[in-house]
Symmetry: C2
Subunit: 368 residues, 2 copies
DNA sequence: TTGTAGGCGTTATCAC
DNA sequence: GTGATAACGCCTACAA
């Protein structure tokens, strides 16, 4: 970087199009046409164009986007309103994907957070519309059912990671949780597991899931569907109000201490799996060899555990991208209320062993 | 929520101030004064005010912020440009803090990511200035030295989590890493540790730190200062190019397998600690009882480990807040280039044991 | 106390 | 091919 100089001008006054035109000795209109690339169309001479471009160069002219927005009605800006970015760290990838997709289409993102406050949500949506955003993405940091706030209907919008409770014209973008469930189940089936399979995170008999969690319901449905097709049934499950390591630890301990044979655990997220690993170790068993573990989300910790945790990933980045794409494809009208499901990719590591793999060796528990 | 109705009007045309004024039977000026709360000042009658407010109510008028910005020159928007939000998940808290502070002052945040691309960075900063942002926060996701891009000097700006390589007028907001180092060292001293203390993440003899990492240098300096004051010296250290679990595992294994007594580890972040825990367990030792561990960052995983990992936290949220505060306090001028250091709070868990605590019992290694 | 008029920097419509 | 001129919606000096 060739910058031997001192710091240059601080906040020099901005140059306007009028000044550029004057400097180039043409009218503002001509300058405007050239700069918006409509020279050919308007049959403006190449010489004139050159003069204008030189003036732009010399003055360091940059168009005033605010003014342009006032005139054209669009600010080339998209509003992104989320409930919380805080508790689910990698949900930041949602924003990342949205940012990338937006930038590729020449848009910037106006971001705000509601922290779950419905009134604030309405307020923020309106504040953004006041700024002439082209549309609004209303994002939830974990997949859930939500009320579509009235304010959202005032213009183009998309629900990200959320489904409307009622019929609505607002489209949704969510991960394909049911398929993820099937995927996890198939993985176990392929490894030869047909019994001693437990779910950790939801109750199974009767079914009991954390309130409002789309993921819980759809994952379970997918799991049971894939197993059912092969005549396999879950041996049980443990409901957890929230999916954190401590709960996963306790639940897994409970399952392991029951009289039944435990061959595989389907943990409903990676944090639960962290607890499950600890409980398995405490019982003198080994993950994969004695107890297979499949998980969901694929947070970074999944790759830190040993053996590496096989997990069906939340496609945060892709979700973010998709939301912007859907929004920008929503020309004018509010959309069809279509639900777009994004595939959750399987990340295979080492936590699933073949059924029976550990049977020929004595379990460590026996050795104690 | 009382909403038995169907979805209401989609994107009704926006009402202007002129319409409100006409409807209220007053001039636009009067309406404008009332709505900007200058009724008293302009001595406008309460009746007139009421008429105007009613018209606003009836029409659902919302001011066009774009137009206002064009007129006033400020968009009540702050630009937040970061290098990556991706790799360091909890850095999202930086954004969260900034978002909160901005909203409290009636500002919205325009966010963008450079992914480390300097050209893109310049471009984004300029794009934001084109939108008349009040100022720009240039954020780095881990504390480092950075070049201040020229584009930043065109208006108010703040470096977040970064220090300028050269003298500059742009102020910085960074975590107080040196004090964090002292804090970690003091904690070990108070637990009675005076020897067998190793750092994991940086080399110590000769000193070797990951390129560009302010944290590495300042943490180490703080540690050595606090120890030096008590006549204590580090027994050694292991340099790591990046601070991930795998490296932490290998480094710790190396340290433990050396002939020397190992009593305490200062891991340079929590991921390194994850690896260290695994290596300690593999050696048949126990964290806290046999080997104390102190760490930095306080990522969520710190509380998931067992025993819970004591860590000096990166105050992401506070950093984000502070950056906005500093920026908004920067009236007009570019600022003094002052460096604001934010305290890193210590989160005490169970990974530090008293020196000698494990000595009366046989170490598990011996029992093998 | 209220109204008129000009301008912020663009874009777009029409004459020339 | 080019140049006045009028919006876009709001703010505010100044006039009444």
């Amino acid at each position: 970087m060739p910058d031997g100089e001192k710091e240059p001008r601080a906040a020099t006054r901005r140059v306007t199009l009028a000044e550029v035109a004057r400097r180039a000795g043409v009218s503002q209109t001509t300058a405007s046409f050239v700069l918006s690339g409509r020279r050919e169309e308007m049959r403006i001479s190449a010489q004139v164009e050159a003069k204008i471009l030189r003036a732009v160069e010399e003055t360091g002219y940059r168009p005033n986007v605010v003014s342009r927005s006032l005139r054209t009605g669009s600010s080339h800006t998209i509003g992104f309103v989320s409930d919380t970015v805080a508790t689910t760290p990698f949900a930041g990838h949602l924003i990342w994907g949205a940012l990338d997709a937006a930038r590729e289409q020449g848009r910037l993102l106006l971001i705000a957070e509601t922290e779950g406050d419905a009134e604030l949500e309405t307020q923020l949506v309106e504040t953004m519309r006041d700024r002439q955003v082209e549309g609004i993405v209303l994002a939830s940091m974990y997949t859930r059912w939500a009320n579509v706030p009235r304010a959202l209907l005032g213009g183009p919008s998309v629900l990200l990671n959320a489904l409307s409770k009622k019929e609505t014209s607002v489209p949704s973008v969510i991960p394909d949780e049911a398929e993820a469930g099937r995927c996890a189940a198939r993985l176990l089936l392929e490894a030869g597991h047909r019994e001693g399979i437990y779910v950790v995170g939801v109750g199974v008999d009767p079914v009991r899931t954390p309130k409002g969690s789309v993921a819980a319901c759809e994952r379970l449905a997918g799991i049971e569907e894939a197993f059912g097709r092969e005549g396999v049934r879950l041996s049980g499950g443990a409901f957890l109000g929230d999916w954190q390591p401590h709960g996963g630890y306790e639940a897994t301990r409970g399952i392991l201490s029951s009289r039944k044979q435990v061959r595989a655990l389907i943990c409903f997220n990676d944090r639960v799996s962290v607890g499950a690993y600890q409980a398995v170790a405490d019982a003198g068993l080994e993950v994969a060899r004695d107890v297979s573990v499949v998980s969901f989300d694929d947070e970074p910790v999944a790759s830190w555990l040993r053996p590496g945790l096989t997990s069906v990933a939340l496609p945060h980045y892709e979700l973010g991208r998709k939301a912007i794409e859907v929004l920008l494809a929503l020309d004018g009208a509010s959309g069809s209320g279509k639900v777009h499901r994004v595939e959750m990719p399987l990340r295979v590591r080492e936590s699933v062993g073949r059924s029976g793999a550990g049977l020929d060796r004595p379990a460590r528990r026996a050795a104690k």
